[in-house]
Symmetry: C2
Subunit: 768 residues, 2 copies
């Protein structure tokens, strides 16, 4: 049974009723972020029940010592880890001397959380009866400002329902925090300065080793019946500072503590100005005021939704799912900083220690290309360009030479952050996804400039890697790629994974094509790149030899490419014929049993058919889909979306819809029983793709947009917008009618179900 406590609602995530068992799940689901920082939905007031505390600053990491049972040569000794940052949200609350704590009070009622996705705020309210019989009513609103992205704001309103009493607030900062996933119980933060001034307090701390300097700050004001009540310093010690505000109130009266807090960081300010910067941003926030800042928040989110919303009619859960996905993606990454990327858990948890996976290139870039300015996707590409030197070093550690580049499987700063040999050393297809994204970016945006300026160097490093990684098999008289892990991580150390071999061949071919194109069209860039990489025509010829004679495992019997050598040796029992109690196999089965089974964690051969669909016929897709999908257990969050797109393409709408629901409500319904650890951010972009590319059938054909919309019978209609080369196209699909609207100055032609139409500004195109 999946989780089902989240109330269906088109624009909000709502939880009603307090259940201590759900606290950690809700802390994930109600997470907030603004691209520069983010935090789990931990309580402001003390909560002594089970909780997973997390507040994260974009780009602030720590090099943790690698932990492993048995060391393998090539593992990184240290790797960057997402870091839990000092807590600025904390507010201890005492009523008549007794601390408010939902884990210990007599009674909690009317507990409600709402994450309003339309407007970008999070609200929590409840009544509680404390052990001293005081009954409190609490309403808390919190948001992380998109306008002032170093600031978060909290409004904490309390009233006493059954007596008069003394209410005391202790708003605090705490840098004595830890990471749950710390390998060696190392101290990650070193606090250097704890300081308060009036109603403000500051903690300066830096990360050990990486020396990111931060100033965590807060300002608190207390309002009683329209009067501001002043507070004073309570405690200032090692890594903790709190203020104290106290007021006697009558039954029914309200007290409201407003707290601004956040971080200034040496990534963005000169080191010695962090305290000043903190005071400045607090000045700006208090000048604007809580209500006005919240108003600006609503406007900012309105702007985001204007471009990226997907509207679904007649299916509230599907609607809530897709909006949750789009909302979380935007909370995680807004494309303002090319030093940042999209972590699989965003700002919602620690797991997966590093930040960037191939998810970004394979899943996220299409979303950001279509819902933001093209500069955003270009920044994501530049991120990899900036890490090229480290990718070359990474390849050297594994024995590659001559500028071959192997991008890490997981990274925050270009260094490898993972150490399972079968992943770190073998899941090398990631290198191909990075090259594919370069192609995809150009295909979609039409902006070729990235390739001569930066992309070509990346492509050369990647082509060099594939050239060296393949070896000639005298037995087959072909080049083979041995010892890899494909996207399906339920196979390790296999030979000739079709997807990997295909990508390797494609990468070399694509690089050779771009070399010719840049030589022709951008001779200065060409000279620079050739000079820097010392690439010779002899080397290119030997690349070509490998690509031309690449081996692809194929079954004549089934007429399909084989996932890898030996796949047909397996006991080919379909997933549908497995006992339900055996699943999910990653929880029920030992690892060796999974490995020798035919079961596929996520699209592998089909991932290749997704990337390169133009190169295969619909019949070929169908054959491969029918062969592989029945063995696929979809135990990766990245699996259902690709299958949903392909099922839609094959006209199997029932299946496409099921996959869609699974991907869009993965976290809301907690399919994988792990939402407590955080959300699956990157797969959310896959959800977007499954509507736009799957149901909408959007493709790039001959430099233009093409659509082939379909609609699940469960829906009355749906609509989405895409930004294509600085034109905004809105697509409205209902069961009887298609409408296309163009927002721009110039008309354009589009393909719909293979027919060309001219789409003009302010003239909706209707097709029946």
């Amino acid at each position: 049974m999946n989780q089902d406590y989240i109330q269906p609602n088109e624009w909000s995530i709502i939880e009603e009723g307090f259940d201590a068992e759900r606290v950690k799940s809700s802390e994930s689901l109600f997470s907030i972020g603004n691209g520069a920082m983010g935090q789990r939905a931990n309580f402001e007031e003390t909560y002594t029940g089970e909780t997973f505390q997390g507040s994260y600053i974009a780009g602030v990491y720590y090099p943790d010592k690698t932990r492993v049972g048995w060391w393998k040569n090539g593992y990184p000794e240290y790797f960057a880890k997402v870091l839990n940052a000092p807590n600025w949200i904390g507010i201890k609350v005492f009523v008549n001397g007794l601390e408010l704590d939902l884990a210990t009070c007599k009674k909690v009622s009317g507990f409600r959380r709402e994450l309003n996705m339309k407007e970008g705020w999070y609200k929590r309210s409840y009544s509680a009866v404390l052990d001293n019989n005081a009954e409190v009513q609490v309403n808390i609103t919190r948001f992380l400002s998109l306008d002032l992205d170093e600031v978060g704001a909290i409004s904490f309103d309390i009233s006493l329902e059954n007596m008069d009493g003394e209410v005391t607030f202790f708003p605090y900062l705490d840098s004595g925090i830890t990471n749950e996933d710390s390998n060696w119980d190392d101290k990650f933060w070193n606090t250097t300065h704890v300081f308060s001034e009036g109603n403000r307090a500051f903690i300066e701390a830096h990360t050990m080793k990486t020396h990111f300097k931060t100033c965590t700050f807060m300002q608190a004001t207390l309002d009683y019946m329209g009067t501001s009540i002043s507070g004073n310093l309570d405690v200032s010690k090692d890594n903790f500072v709190s203020l104290k505000f106290s007021q006697h109130i009558k039954k029914g009266e309200h007290l409201k503590l407003t707290k601004f807090g956040g971080y200034t960081v040496s990534r963005n300010h000169p080191e010695d100005t962090l305290l000043n910067a903190a005071n400045d941003v607090l000045d700006r926030a208090s000048n604007i005021g809580f209500e006005n800042l919240l108003e600006k928040q609503k406007q900012a989110w309105a702007g985001i939704w204007e471009m990226s919303d997907i509207n679904i009619l007649g299916d509230v859960k599907a609607q809530q799912g897709i909006r949750f996905n789009i909302f979380q993606l935007n909370q995680t990454y807004l494309g303002t900083d090319s030093r940042l990327n999209i972590g699989p858990k965003g700002f919602t948890g620690e797991k997966y220690g590093g930040s960037t996976y191939w998810d970004t290139e394979a899943y996220c870039i299409p979303f950001y290309m279509a819902t933001k300015d093209e500069l955003v996707a270009r920044k994501l590409l530049k991120y990899r360009y900036n890490h090229l030197e480290k990718a070359i070093e990474n390849a050297e550690k594994l024995g590659f030479t001559n500028g071959a580049a192997l991008y890490p499987m997981v990274t925050m700063n270009g260094e490898e952050c993972h150490n399972e040999w079968e992943i770190t050393f073998e899941e090398i297809h990631r290198n191909g996804a990075i090259a594919f994204a370069i192609y995809n970016y150009y295909r979609y945006t039409g902006d070729y400039s990235y390739i001569p300026e930066m992309g070509l160097e990346v492509l050369i490093g990647i082509a060099r890697f594939w050239h060296q990684r393949a070896n000639f098999s005298g037995y087959r008289n072909k080049y083979v790629i041995l010892g890899v892990t494909g996207p399906n991580e339920y196979e390790n150390n296999v030979n000739n994974n079709w997807y990997t071999n295909y990508l390797a061949q494609w990468c070399i071919q694509f690089t050779l094509e771009q070399l010719a194109k840049v030589a022709e069209g951008y001779p200065e860039d060409y000279e620079r790149v050739i000079g820097k990489t010392k690439l010779s025509s002899t080397e290119c010829e030997s690349w070509k030899k490998v690509a031309d004679a690449m081996y692809f495992p194929y079954s004549e019997e089934y007429g399909v490419y084989l996932q890898q050598d030996g796949f047909l040796d397996k006991d080919l029992i379909k997933v549908a014929d497995l006992d339900r109690t055996e699943r999910p196999i990653n929880q029920k089965w030992s690892w060796d049993r999974i490995l020798r089974s035919p079961y596929i964690k996520q699209a592998d051969v089909l991932q290749g058919f997704y990337f390169f669909e133009d190169r295969f016929t619909l019949e070929e897709l169908e054959k491969h889909f029918d062969f592989y999908e029945p063995f696929t257990v979809h135990e990766s969050s990245l699996s259902p979306c690709v299958h949903s797109i392909q099922a839609a393409k094959l006209g199997r709408m029932e299946q496409a819809y099921t996959f869609y629901l699974r991907t869009s409500r993965l976290d809301l319904d907690d399919y994988n029983k792990e939402v407590e650890e955080g959300l699956h951010i990157t797969s959310m972009a896959g959800t977007w793709m499954s509507i736009v590319e799957g149901f909408g059938g959007m493709r790039i054909v001959n430099d233009g947009l093409s659509f082939d919309p379909r609609i699940p019978w469960q829906w009355e209609g749906y609509s989405f917008k895409v930004n294509f080369r600085n034109r905004i196209i809105k697509v409205i699909v209902s069961s009887g009618e298609l409408t296309f609207e163009l927002n721009g100055d110039h008309g354009m032609s589009i393909l719909v179900r293979g027919n060309e139409y001219e789409l003009l500004p302010k003239a909706p195109l209707k097709i029946h």
Copy 2:
């Protein structure tokens, strides 16, 4: 450059000159043991330089929490670990108030260690000048008694060479010890009682979790010019107790501290009698006295050598090597306790956390069968019988059912002690070695009784495992075994490892044969076993189906069985063509590069040809040897011996001799640059095999002994003895002549180079 500081000597291991860099190596090489306990050659007196402290009690282990970077389903949560035990050898020595410490004194000269293998004692002597200019001459003798196997004895003799002075001894016990390989810095020992009485002291401590209770004890006496000087209690605290003996001596006079110490353990005594037992054994030791106990030690070792010595003429290093191997094997395991087994590092280090590997069955049992009473080998077999229930549980954890048994890769108590998935879950050929040992035991000793009494149950569990582990490949119309690691651990997760498939087939066939034989000859045992295992004839038939249709990868082109599917896809560059600087590849190469290379760590296909040589022709052996050996890097201690035996069989004596030297002096010359961590005990049995089976050509043919002796040109001659079915046969080989002597009451026939001879008691058979 290999290590070469050990002096060549036929019967002793000798180090001359003090070098702090060599201390840890020598601590391993000069280790002593008596089967019940053992210890590294740590100094008695304080040494503040780099050292690796280790004292170990047979069968006393601790369940350490598993450490791993990324958990895989099926890993044991805890596993038994070899435990460093309280230190009883310590003696602090002060001269005129200054402590003797070779790491800090002004000068050390005449430093000499000798491990006398013939007589079983270890001696260390030196002169040292302390910072106070006192020059001391020190002579220390230490041994662990074979007669009283709970007791060790130390004689510490000191004289002042250049002045009169006060010498103070503080003999002590210390239970505040740690393991270097502790995963979580857990405390392994809990000390409950520290106690002294006269010249004796005791520490009672138990291991955490496993609750092995121990009493570590000592007794010290000081002799000055024939007079006993009494001491008194110095310190008694938490986990430490020391006595104090002081005496003023004149220049040139000697003082001798005699210390008995050791452990009584709840494995061997009722828990509440450990202190009494300690006093008892100290009474017995002191009644016998140091000199007499040493005399008994010499006699006991003479008895061991009488049966197991191998004499080599004309090659001191080869002689020293084989005796070191035989000596260490006997220090580690004497066959007195079926709860014990032979750890790869014996009592010489911590690494490899557990104790028992397949090394015992594949390498050690032949040595113990031929050099001890057959009961010793039977005890080693019984050890596995006692662990059958745990092997069944282990298989269940991995998803096997119906009493299938998978013996652990590494164990101390039947539980798995290793957690690399590619080893723990996949190196399943170990199960076959356990069945092979049952066959080998019967073949050699002629004692069938083990099979009906115990072995048949083990065989059924193992056959059930193979039956379930194989799956039918529709593609090949054969049974395949997917996802395994063979003996060559430089390949992981391969399909159809020939050795594994061959063993699996053989195990099933052998089990079916034994079922028939037991049914026929031991009907009561048969009934009992069938009742217990609920084995049906239907089940046996389905086993047979798997064995009959087992798939074996084979290359028509090379005429060889392939190590695994896909082996020929590799870049087949021979080891000889690799640059020397690339080796050893396990230090120079990343793990992924090793995996996709063709290089073989230790005999894999050739291990099968070793076990089952009767089933292959000499031509087949030659073809496979010539195909695989050139790709073999011999980076496992278990590799050279098998290749030495096969090279000898093929008449390639130069190669056989090179392999022999490498295996016999692996630790003495530190080929693998890791002797500091301990010795390679189990591979030492392989050294023995490479002489007896390799050069001596000993085999069992038709229930009798067969020899085909060859001699390396570097040797003048060699001789060995074997116990074959309670007859002792001595084989003396020189370049011109073979001599066979029989020690027994009845004659027997033997085969020599294919010809049958009658060997009679007291009538040496000479063959020219």
